[in-house]
């Protein structure tokens, strides 16, 4: 009964999102008061629907009065959809609270706020429809709705050529990816004899055809998820959109791609093979390590966050790869553990990346600055944003007691069971992946020390930042909600894993039964002997010891005397003497130099002053994108030869085509 209620809630959430899109086209006074609250409400209802589904389990289906006569649109809500629906819901809720204050900064600008509000609503509706779709046809329509509406959001600041270029690239890649997914569904549909997911689940595929479908789906969904080497569009497109949209795109839309992959591979194909697991592991670890190294090199805050999304999706796919590998090798319990780690990281990434993008938006809003090298000292100017950003940074750096650490811990626990695999090769791949995961974690910490240290600590490096003002309460609240959830998921993992457990129980046939067997204090994924993590205890002891330390050491101590920083007896330090972000990463840039295309040197400017320049370019451009672009240009130039300008030639071609078609058809 309650699962049907959840489905009705989910439909209501979609309706609210569409309504919010519609209201955005009303006059400004109504739009300002109604559109964003509707959006927020839609997120809240979606979250409720997702949670009800996760708690109660079960499946509900319904038919929408849309679609083709012989293929009406089917929606279906099961726990997997419910899980992703709640991720969509929770981030949209926070974004909805944050957005009004942020969007007010664009009032009176030349870009239309109607378009922004309209496509934001459509975008949310599209994402929710994707996770509810029960046939390939509706899935693709919803997928396109999501991609196209986000294209318009990326292209919203369309007066700069770079933004238009990024938006076009996004559109192009989204469609190549979409095509690949479509073909993948085509393979399943032709074996299953229908476009409904029900029919596809029943299809029995040979290893070869299943692998074809898997590869197509992996390319399609991996493209959307920004996996290396197809990632290069992501850091171009995501930062260009307004910040709350970037939060939605990085935090939520990438998770929809993960949903698609899980639905396609684990649910529709069903039978998995270890080769797929190895492929996903390799791509995932490459994405993680290359993503974080490129993130480390960026000085544009939003671009840096976008590259870090590539890395986080890599970590999620490492989890999924481990799950595939262990599942195919007949170790369902460990596969479940890896699967849960991936799902947990999905929520975590949605929360902290949403939070960090909202923080970047707050800086953009009050100081109009995206360049890290111009920031500094923002913690004093914007204490709340600074505090929430710190929470986000610690979470993303996978440090206890915050949420990022929990999913990293679970991933390591799954990897540590590699000894159960058959054969030395498989057994040794997993430790190598684990070491890359550890390296990634350490580099993420370096990245966010750089970001936080350069942007929020020290002193401002330019005037606008020095005069930054705190952002409105609504924006702080939006960030605060996500920051609070980051802490909550970090200290109470057993509750959340008990909730998530419904998903592997449905998809893989079993959950982690031991996870809270020793009480809510102890996270014990396999057994108490193997590993346990008392997250609430660690958090509590840290807190108590901190308070105690402050009391013992600080009590009765004399006031801290303020003075100048030590200047070695020379001139007093100025903001320009601070370590810059570029300088901070120099050692790492030097030893991982081969992975980037670096050009640097000293150039003499026109006024005779000398200036150091440095450019770090993603190698994916030169190695993958540029050759394909050249090839497309070359082949279109070949096609141009047909265009002679003489009508007789054109008629000749038409005749030839006709003849060919007749020959083919008859």
């Amino acid at each position: 009964m309650s699962i049907t209620l959840a489905l009705q809630l989910a439909e209501g959430a979609i309706g609210l999102a569409l309504l919010s899109a519609l209201v955005s086209f009303f006059p400004a006074t109504i739009r300002r008061r109604v559109a964003m609250p509707l959006f927020t409400l839609s997120g809240l209802v979606a979250l409720a629907a997702g949670l009800v589904t996760l708690i109660n389990g079960g499946v509900a289906t319904a038919q929408l009065p849309l679609g083709l006569p012989w293929l009406p649109w089917q929606v279906r809500l099961d726990v997997l959809s419910g899980f992703f629906l709640s991720i969509i819901g929770v981030v949209s809720f926070a974004v909805g609270i944050y957005a009004p204050g942020y969007v007010r900064g664009f009032e009176g600008g030349k870009d239309s706020l109607r378009v922004l509000g309209g496509f934001t609503g459509l975008f949310l509706a599209g994402m929710m429809l994707v996770v509810l779709a029960d046939d390939a046809f509706m899935f693709m329509v919803a997928w396109e709705l999501m991609s196209l509406s986000s294209y318009f959001l990326v292209a919203w600041h369309h007066d700069s050529a770079a933004n238009r270029r990024a938006a076009f690239l996004y559109l192009l890649m989204a469609h190549i990816g979409g095509l690949s997914i479509l073909l993948g569904f085509g393979v399943l549909a032709s074996f299953g004899g229908g476009f409904t997911f029900e029919a596809m689940r029943g299809a029995s595929l040979s290893f070869g055809w299943a692998s074809v479908a898997f590869v197509l789906a992996f390319i399609g969904f991996g493209m959307k998820a920004g996996l290396v080497p197809l990632h290069a569009w992501l850091p171009e497109a995501h930062p260009v959109a307004p910040s709350h949209i970037s939060a939605l795109m990085s935090g939520v839309m990438l998770k929809v791609a993960v949903y698609g992959f899980i639905r396609f591979v684990f649910d529709l194909i069903g039978t998995v093979h270890w080769q797929w697991g190895v492929a996903v592991l390799i791509v995932g670890s490459l994405s993680a390590i290359i993503g974080v190294l490129l993130a480390l090199m960026q000085n544009d805050l939003k671009r840096l966050l976008a590259y870090s999304s590539v890395e986080n999706l890599g970590i999620i796919f490492i989890g999924l790869g481990l799950a595939l590998l262990f599942l195919a090798e007949g170790h369902p319990l460990i596969a479940t553990l890896a699967f849960v780690a991936a799902l947990y990281h999905c929520i975590n990434h949605a929360l902290f990346k949403g939070l960090l993008f909202l923080g970047a938006g707050a800086i953009l809003h009050s100081a109009n600055e995206r360049d890290l090298e111009k920031m500094g000292g923002l913690l004093r100017r914007m204490p709340w944003t600074g505090f929430f950003f710190l929470v986000g940074s610690i979470s993303i750096a996978a440090l206890p007691p915050f949420n990022g650490f929990v999913s990293e811990w679970l991933s390591f626990q799954a990897a540590l069971q590699a000894w159960q695999l058959e054969g030395g090769v498989l057994r040794s791949i997993v430790p190598i992946v684990a070491s890359l995961l550890a390296l990634t974690g350490a580099l993420v910490a370096a990245t966010f020390v750089k970001v936080y240290g350069v942007a929020f600590l020290g002193q401002a490096r330019c005037r606008a930042v020095r005069r930054a003002r705190r952002v409105p309460l609504s924006m702080r609240t939006g960030q605060g909600i996500l920051a609070f959830l980051c802490l909550l998921l970090g200290i109470l993992p057993t509750f959340f894993i008990d909730l998530i457990n419904a998903v592997p129980r449905e998809i893989l046939g079993q959950g982690l039964s031991q996870v809270s067997a020793h009480g809510w204090l102890w996270l014990t994924p396999i057994s108490q002997q193997t590993a346990s993590y008392g997250a609430p205890l660690v958090a509590m002891i840290l807190f108590v010891a901190l308070v105690l330390g402050l009391w013992l050491v600080g009590r009765g101590a004399r006031r801290v005397r303020l003075g100048d920083a030590w200047d070695c007896g020379y001139a007093p330090p100025t903001p320009s003497m601070q370590y810059t972000g570029t300088a901070f990463v120099q050692p790492i840039r030097r030893i991982f130099g081969l992975l980037f295309q670096i050009s640097d040197g000293v150039e003499t400017q026109q006024d005779g002053r000398r200036r150091y320049y440095l450019q770090v370019v993603d190698r994916a451009w030169g190695l993958l994108y540029a050759p394909i672009a050249r090839w497309v240009e070359w082949s279109s130039r070949q096609v141009v030869r047909l265009q002679s300008g003489s009508i007789r030639t054109y008629l000749g071609w038409t005749l030839a085509t006709l003849l060919l078609l007749l020959w083919l058809v008859v």
């Binding site: 010891a545 050491v553 601070q578």
Partner: protein, 315 residues
Amino acid sequence: MAAWGFALIQSLLYLALAPLLVGWVHKVKARLQNRRGAPIWQPYRDLYKLFAKEARMAHTASLLFRAAPYIVFVATWLAAAAIPLLSTDLPTAAMADVIVIAGLLGLARFFLALAGMDVVTAFGGMGASREMFVSALAEPAMLMAVFSLAMTAHSTNLASVVEYQLLGEPFLRPSYLFALAALVLVAIAETGRIPVDNPSTHLELTMIHEAMILEYSGRHLALMEWAAQLKLLLYAALLVNVFLPWGIAQSIRPDMLGMAFVLLVVKLALLGVALAVSETLLAKMRLFRVPAFLNLALLLALLGLMSHVILEVGA
């Protein structure tokens, strides 16, 4: 409950012993250099002096700069509390396994580096940059090294790892040797000892850890120094108790604990002598030689893990 009480006592013992180990290393080093050296309880006197002194801070520093010493100290202490020192009957080891210990040390490092970036001098940023650079390379090596132990013992709980060591026949596993070598290299890098960093230098070209805490004084500096001493003891305890656990108490009985304490002091003293000798013999290396040093550690750790999963699992 008794176990938790003992865990508390053991964690206090960490606090008490940490300065002593540093004092001992300094003393041995001084003797090796034909100096008489300061008495071995000099670090206690230094800490006492610093706690009593007034703290000074740059007026450009933010609240984070003031909070960082406490966070660094508490996180390091909690990490130490989860490593068996005298007994393996340790509930904190179940609360925080090796991955959590690495995470807590990461948390301490995160705030240490941020504190370094907070004051408007280039020293702090330079130290933070180098610290994160070194730790980025050291952390995977450390995790891989402890993973090969954890895989052997089928547990990431350090107390279980130690108990597994004690239970089995004392035969030499190749994975243990690799892990030991890797962990020694990592410990040197992570605790900022020669040849990676020099704890007694204040030259801008060479310092890493000292550069980050350069702006601290008074009680803040005391906490930072104490945390660094704790970290040295933590790694020393990890090395001696995981690789040479014989003598450690397996339950909380006074006679066993007394025996464990005596043996522990002997083991730590020997390790301290080894550290002093190696620091006297070696020179600090250039910063860009450090990656080679740590890559060696990672390689050894990975070899250990591989030799475990390939050679030892089936056998």
